[in-house]
Structure formats: C-alpha cells, structure tokens
Symmetry: none
Subunit: 253 residues, 2 copies
DNA sequence: CGTGTTGTGAATGAAGTTGATTGAAAATGT
DNA sequence: ACATTTTCAATCAACTTCATTCACAACACG
C-alpha cells in the first residue's frame, strides 16, 4: 500500500529542511517507496523550486548561510537588479529594518557605502554590513535558526517590540491574492512583529514567487506599502498588486 | 558507500574557510575519500574560483562569510591553551553564556563539535558557532559595536535580563586586587548584566592582564567563581586569586 | 463495463563518479 | 648534482546514479 503522494512529498521537504540534505537512498528506506518514485518526487520538487536536485540526493534551497549548490553560484540576475533598485530608493541617513533572506541580502550588498542605520535579525546581513564604516548596525537577537542564520523566537520578538522604524524591507516565500507567505511559522511570527515595528512595508520579490503559497500565511496584501519586483511579472499580477493599493516598482534590467 | 558529491565539496569549503588552508592528506582522512577524488574536488573548486589550489593542498580565497579577520590572526599560544582547558571543562549538553573578546573567541573555537547551548553577544563567535550542527545558538542583539563586533546597549541589556544561564565565560581587559576592568563603559554595563544572568562566573585571562587596570571597573574579584589562566601567572597573584575565594585553574602547555 | 488517467515499481542502457595504478614533474635531503 | 620522496595528471575498470521505457494497478468518468 503506497503512501499518499502529497504526504510523501511533504515528508521529503521536512527531512530536507531539517537536515539540509538527504541522499536518495535514505529517502527510499525512510519512505518505503521505490527508487523510481522518490526520484520522481525529487524531480517534481526541484521543478517547483522547493528543493535543489543534486547527484545522489537533494539539498535545501531556501534561505541559507551555507547552501550546497547556492554557494557555487551567485544570486540570480533578477535579485540583483531588484536589489540595486531598492538601494537607490534609500536615502542617506535613513533607518531601515532589514529582514533575512537571499533577496534582502542582495539589498544589503547594494547599501554598502551609504550612511544608514540598519536594523536586522540576519547574521549574514550583519556580517556584510558590520564592515561598512558608515552604517550603524543594530542586531536583533534571538534563537539563531540554523542554516538560515536568522534570529527568531521570543527574544527576537521582544527586541522588535522595542524598535520603531519608518520602513521595513522584507523578502517572502510566496505571494498570492491572499497575501504573503513564508515557509516557517516561527519566522512568520517574527516577521509579524516587524510589520508592527515599521510604518512602511516594502516587499522585495522576484517574479517566480507570485502565485506560490507556502506553509504559513504572514499577512494580507493590504499591509504592504510597496513592492519591488523584476520585469518578469505578468500583467495580470501587476493589476492585482496595484489593485491592492500597493505601489509597484518594476526593476528593469 | 561514497559520500555525496556536493556534500563533500561543501565540507571541503567549510574546512578551508575555517582553517585558511588544508592539506590534501587531511582531507583524505577527514572525508574518507580517496586521494583521486579529493584531488578532483579541489580541481573543481579551484576552477570555479572558490579555493586556490596549491601544491599539497588548497588555500582559502575570496570573500568570506565570516569577517573580522580574527580568523587568520592566530591567537597567542597562551590564549589557545587556556581555551583548550576551558573547552574541556564544559560538559556536553550544558548552556553557557559567552562574552565577546579574543580569548573567548578561542574558547568558542574549542567548543566546536560539542553538543551545547551557547548564548553570546559576539558576532565573530556567532559566525564561528553558527556552522556547528550540534550547537544551539542564541544571539544577544543590540547596537553592534563596530570594532569588536559585540552587541551592546539597551537592547542587549534587556535581552540579557530575559536570559538565565548556569555559567558565563568572560574575558577581561585587566585584573587588579580591586577586581575586573574593561576599556569601555558601554561594554562594562552590558557585562554587568551578564554577571546577573549567570550563577557561576568564569574568567579567562592570560597572565599579562594581571596587575593592569583599565578605564571602567566591572566588578569585585569576589564575584568570580573560577579563573582559567596560563602558567605564566606569578605565585603572588595565584595567592591573591585563591585568597579571594576563586577556584584557580592553570592551563599548562 | 471499457477506456483514459495517474501513480507506482522494475528493467535497461547511458552518463557520471570513484579508487587504484601508472609514470611524469616537483620538492626535498644528502 | 644526484637520489629519494612527495605530489601530480592521466587513464581505466568497477561502481552509482540517472533518464527512459514498459507493465501493472487503482480510480474516475463516460
């Protein structure tokens, strides 16, 4: 009696999220499915971008400090152009709250050289900006979520309660008409506090994120002030976003 | 059964990133792969510019995710032996609060591989331990002090108020009969909160610190539970320390 | 009832990876 | 300067992993 399809794929995702990596063989024994089936699952999950297929197994593809393949290649061109546009929108002397994630990390890279005050809960971003002489860096502490290097949990939340900023720049796992999503409830909880701490909410997302949902719902579209997306965004999505009262900025290459 | 390709290459990168250099032989034993395989991996990683191939091994190249070039500036032999002794005193499963500083950074390095819960306000230490799979890391946030990469200020202090640990391990700027000193009032203020948060106070210090005072007074000697010092400490200082009711551990080379 | 559709497992040959072996090249010691 | 040792690149056979194909079973839908 075979396991239910979705259930099995869910379990694969869980294992990968937890370990960062699984071998195909491990999944075969763990799930009691045949090699062919697991292979097909991995192929599918890779197709929708949930994991990254590698020879012999599969790797975690989400935000990460030390990704497997990701380390071998630089961020996508879309993310880089988005980041550049965002960085140009930021005026010297401002204070911004920077969420964790690969897109926001690119944004941080673009901020180098500017005189700013930056608040972040992301260890990679902190590393990047700590070396910048003109940037005053405030770190949000908390339980450091392994692999992603983002501080979460009660400590992070209470720290965010003490912080007030004019603007937060967030990444996201997925966007639908229902709003923003992310893959991790702990993360979402923390991001909710960020929404409260900031007056304006800017969301950076490459167009592949649209139409995708994820495990945890973060907020309605109406909470978002501005979105910065690459030019690959379809016209229908542009209408939906603008219809929700969001200022949409397209990052042209 | 061979290890998976990407995983192995990632591990090579991690080792090189941490040590700055690895010999081919070390990788062979460490990874349990054949010389040919490791050779091929190095060739590949060199090809994509992640490492620099050298005769007999490979060297680090390019930008790091762990800034603060502490990594290469090797600590003094005294600090290293102190750190090793301290690390041996820590039992698996414990929770410790780790102060910032070069000596405590060495301690953190010695903790690699152990299963621990570590609380710290030091960015370099967080970077070091974030990669360790067995270490649960809690980051104390706050204003990130540029030079040293330590989180200080009101945010850090209120975070420390919410934390309780059996043991804090601190560095220090100087030690006299009057107690411990450090060079920075903001830092001292934060360290005072650490003293409150912990039951036991361990101080790591190389013998050169004794007899030196510094700008800001942190606390009396009586607050300290244990000191770990290198063998260069004079007999008179040993008596003073023991006379203050402190358990003194000498780190022999 | 057929007749698609979908999920599954097994079989096949192709492609990629691995470890041992070889002799050349470079470093080291005498 | 020579012999010895270490490191290296190239080659090859054994082995893994992979994509493709086929056959079978469950199930929906006309």
């Amino acid at each position: 009696m075979p396991m239910i399809l979705d259930q099995r794929r869910d379990e694969i995702l869980q294992v990968i999220e937890q370990q960062g990596f699984v071998s195909l063989q491990e999944l075969v024994t763990r799930l009691g499915a045949s090699e062919s089936t697991v292979r097909r699952d991995l192929e599918y999950l890779d197709g929708i971008g949930q994991i990254r297929r590698t020879r012999g197994g599969a790797a975690y593809t989400g935000e990460s400090i030390t990704p497997f393949e990701e380390r071998f290649r630089s961020a996508s061109r879309e993310k880089q152009t988005i980041a550049k546009v965002v960085a140009d929108l930021i005026q010297p002397g401002e204070t911004i709250l920077l969420d964790g994630g690969t897109t926001t990390l690119e944004v941080a890279r673009g901020l180098a050289g500017k005189a700013l005050q930056v608040v972040t809960n992301s260890l990679p971003i902190a590393n990047l900006l700590a070396q910048q002489p003109n940037i005053e860096l405030v770190l949000i502490g908390g339980y450091l979520y392994p692999r992603t290097g983002v501080a979460l949990g009660p400590l992070a939340e209470s720290a965010l309660r003490e912080v007030h900023v004019p603007r937060v720049i967030m990444g996201t796992g997925g966007i639908t008409e229902k709003g923003l999503f992310n893959s991790n409830t702990l993360l979402v909880q923390c991001e909710r506090m960020m929404l409260v701490a900031a007056k304006e909410v800017w969301v950076v997302a490459d167009s592949s994120k649209f139409g995708k949902s994820a495990l945890a719902h973060l907020c309605e579209l109406s909470k978002v002030t501005r979105m910065i997306v690459d030019a690959g965004l379809s016209d229908s999505w542009r209408e939906i976003i603008r219809g929700a009262g969001i200022e949409l900025t397209i990052a042209e290459t």
